[in-house]
């Protein structure tokens, strides 16, 4: 029997790694991948509580999260392609078109 707070600790650690990736990397594609890591950390928590309460509602939520992740990845990668076509860069700190 695995206590539920082990799963929550794993979710916390994965979430933190994702946050570090979002905050420190310059490459926009790696930032998008870090967002996928964060979503996976949330999924671990949801499935852990779903198993814990013997209810499938948490798993249904995970399906919606995965749907959102797919939509977000498609839109984000299309944005990166459009951006690369205009600016010739994938670095987040060089994308400052809206900066005064």
């Amino acid at each position: 029997m695995i206590p539920i707070h082990w799963y929550l600790m794993l979710g916390t650690a994965l979430f933190t790694v994702g946050v570090i990736g979002v905050l420190t990397r310059r490459n926009v594609i790696v930032i998008l991948m870090s967002i996928e890591l964060i979503l996976n950390a949330v999924n671990v928590n949801l499935v852990a509580f779903s198993d814990y309460f013997r209810s499938v509602d948490g798993q249904v939520f995970v399906i919606f999260v995965i749907t959102d992740a797919a939509a977000e990845a498609a839109i984000g990668l299309a944005l990166i392609i459009a951006l690369f076509r205009n600016k010739e860069t994938v670095n987040a700190d060089e994308i400052d078109l809206l900066k005064w």
Partner: protein, 170 residues
């Protein structure tokens, strides 16, 4: 230590190590490969939690769909320039410290509150229907409207991606 706990520790260590490799690799293709390892380990965690359907969804949709999309885009944009440049932004020390403080707070909260997680252990009734059947019943009965909204969201995302990646709108 039971076999389940050994499996949990193995999968967790694999997921965490590959997640750290995702955010530290210089080459974005390597990051994608390590992210695939992370997703497989998280899928294994789902299996430990009796969510077999989600394991299949994770492998087919995440690894087979989203990661292939990522690989396509990594191959499309020019990597040779980005690999030689600095990989971390200027504020990385501050960001790292803040994120680690955040993790410490969350872990401390979970550690202090984990005695509260003991209520449902008594109702350990084995499920009468399979996991896939249970998820399908919940999806198409209780969550029918959200499923429809999610399908519209996917349609919007598809149209948006096509419009944004198009070279020129006429």
């Amino acid at each position: 230590m039971t076999l389940l706990q050994i499996a949990f520790f193995f999968l967790s260590a694999l997921a965490l190590a590959s997640a750290i490799l995702v955010i530290t690799r210089r080459n974005a293709v390597h990051s994608v490969i390590w992210l695939i390892v992370t997703l497989f380990s998280v899928g294994g965690i789902f299996l430990l939690l009796h969510a077999e359907f989600l394991f299949a969804v994770q492998v087919i949709l995440y690894v087979g769909g989203i990661m292939v999309l990522f690989l396509f885009v990594v191959m499309l944009v020019n990597l040779d320039v980005a690999v030689k440049q600095a990989q971390f932004s200027r504020q990385w020390q501050l960001a790292l410290a803040t994120a680690i403080i955040l993790m410490a707070e969350l872990a401390y909260g979970i550690y202090r509150g984990h005695q509260g997680f003991t209520l449902a252990q008594t109702s350990a009734v084995p499920p009468t229907i399979g996991n896939t059947q249970a998820v399908a019943l919940a999806l198409y009965q209780d969550y029918m409207l959200p499923v429809e909204i999610a399908s519209v969201l996917l349609l919007v995302a598809m149209v948006g991606a096509v419009v944004m990646a198009k070279r020129k709108l006429e």
